[in-house]
Subunit: 322 residues, 2 copies
Amino acid sequence: MAREAGLSKTTVSAALNGTGRLSPAVRERARETARRMGYRPNATARQLRAGRARLIGYVVGEFAGEPWTYLDSPYFARLTSATAAAALRHGYALVMLPAGTLQREWADLPLEAVIVADPVEDDPLVEDFLAARIPVFSDASVADRPGAHWVDVDTEAAVRDSLDHLRERGARRTALVLPDSTTRFHRQVHAAYRAWCARRGAEELVTLVPAPGNGPVVRSVEEALGAEPRPDGLFVVAEASPPLVLDAARRRGLSVPGDLRVVCVSEDSSAAHADPPVTTLSLRPVEVAEAGVSLLVSALEDGGSTPPGVLLSARLRVRASS
Amino acid sequence: MAREAGLSKTTVSAALNGTGRLSPAVRERARETARRMGYRPNATARQLRAGRARLIGYVVGEFAGEPWTYLDSPYFARLTSATAAAALRHGYALVMLPAGTLQREWADLPLEAVIVADPVEDDPLVEDFLAARIPVFSDASVADRPGAHWVDVDTEAAVRDSLDHLRERGARRTALVLPDSTTRFHRQVHAAYRAWCARRGAEELVTLVPAPGNGPVVRSVEEALGAEPRPDGLFVVAEASPPLVLDAARRRGLSVPGDLRVVCVSEDSSAAHADPPVTTLSLRPVEVAEAGVSLLVSALEDGGSTPPGVLLSARLRVRASS
DNA sequence: CTGAAAGCGCTAACAG
DNA sequence: CTGTTAGCGCTTTCAG
């Protein structure tokens, strides 16, 4: 198209990129010709020239192999779209790598970094990326690994606040419903719950949910509420639809918040519209996404002076269920 | 690293790609050196050479400007991850383009095609992509546009089946709760409902939901159920948590399915666990995703003989609420 | 102010 | 069986 416009490649490039010092007339001629011919610069060639592709991988690692969680989780849905939006604002595009993605499936992508949401313990994906010298951004379980950065919420404090809150509202026996997973967050919740119980001299009432999804979680909630003597507080950390948690309590003959105070870890907006509205602990996916992308951009572009990680606070949104 | 191995670039390339006819010894030496040095071929250079990047854009267009819907919608969450997984199986990677993405944000990406989920009427994004000669895969609203392919569900049949089902179960006055949007699907539902009512001589009872999200939908449901005489059938096409729809009926003093038969268009797994379980009409996001990716791959790789579009059936999952 | 030439890292012809 | 060479489409010195 340079030929078509009667100019050289150089001049056209300068005209289209707004660089160099060209006469307005020439610049306009190049632009006009480009428009007329529907010319668009080849993105791959520009990337090669620039030495960077501005592409970031995005993996959800939790329950790797089971696509379930991600599909049904408002947390991951929000995290994903907030990450994509934040990345794009910084000039990076996000490529989706479903859990279970193999090395040969991403090896052909010019990834500058990869975000691994909620890796499992010693996640092989994280190892693979680090071995390929691709910087990894994940949660605090990767702290101290060279090439890895992290963003995390202060789980310890969040659990303590939630349990203290339930206690203030009169709960003396708070049951915990937790996924049976090796995600750092879940392990930390378990540890923090036990520590809190020890400190308060409270009995530990833990029900592990064997699989993700509303069905298993609801069954586990019912199981937890069947303990004798009855729990009068319920802390549901496994993602489930809050109205269904209330239904389970109702089936057990417990009124909320009279007999049972309920807090759910959830981003599900149905919590606010349930009857009664359900108190939630938000893991703040949008803030996590934005902090993660900021960290990533500064590590990739500014270089060395970037902190290795960022710690955010979870947020307890108190509603009528407690 | 060719020098390091004492070989030429060509030989190394052939060794690593398994092409050419090299002695096993040489091949192994190249591989070993690559491993030792942590060498990985530059993906961008390969893409440039190959003339294709195997990257596909993915946009959600509904309620462009309002990120809400996508965040809270199990339909889009499933569609998104199923699309990403299907694409990867075919060797393509999906890059996320949030609704509202500007031309200059995707112009630098070497996209071979773009998937636009649920575009609004005359979606400007679709126009931009077609103008840039990037093939568009979307719903049937783009049919007949050159360069555009589509996958859609048979809305007409789905609405008819749902309304017939409600009628069989005894509903004589079925109210429709529909988002106030210009998505093709929503317009078609509206038209099909009116046609059905005309055919059956039934009164049209339509409530338009002004905004996405559980709150507005639940309010609209309550409004719909407040009509006199009371509806005895409810068809909720706006995405909402099914248990919340039941709550709304309960607040209106209606028992389900005794006084009111309920069908929700939803992918939310909480429907199956609600009390009573809620009949849903599934738009089959996973099947749509897979059909769309198959179509895309065959259009991109096989060339001309690809059909312009694919029509799938929705699926009614009958449960106790009707 | 504009054009020719080099080179980003790779692979596919083609010579040796 | 292996190595040299050209070129993918672009940007950027550097001469003219």
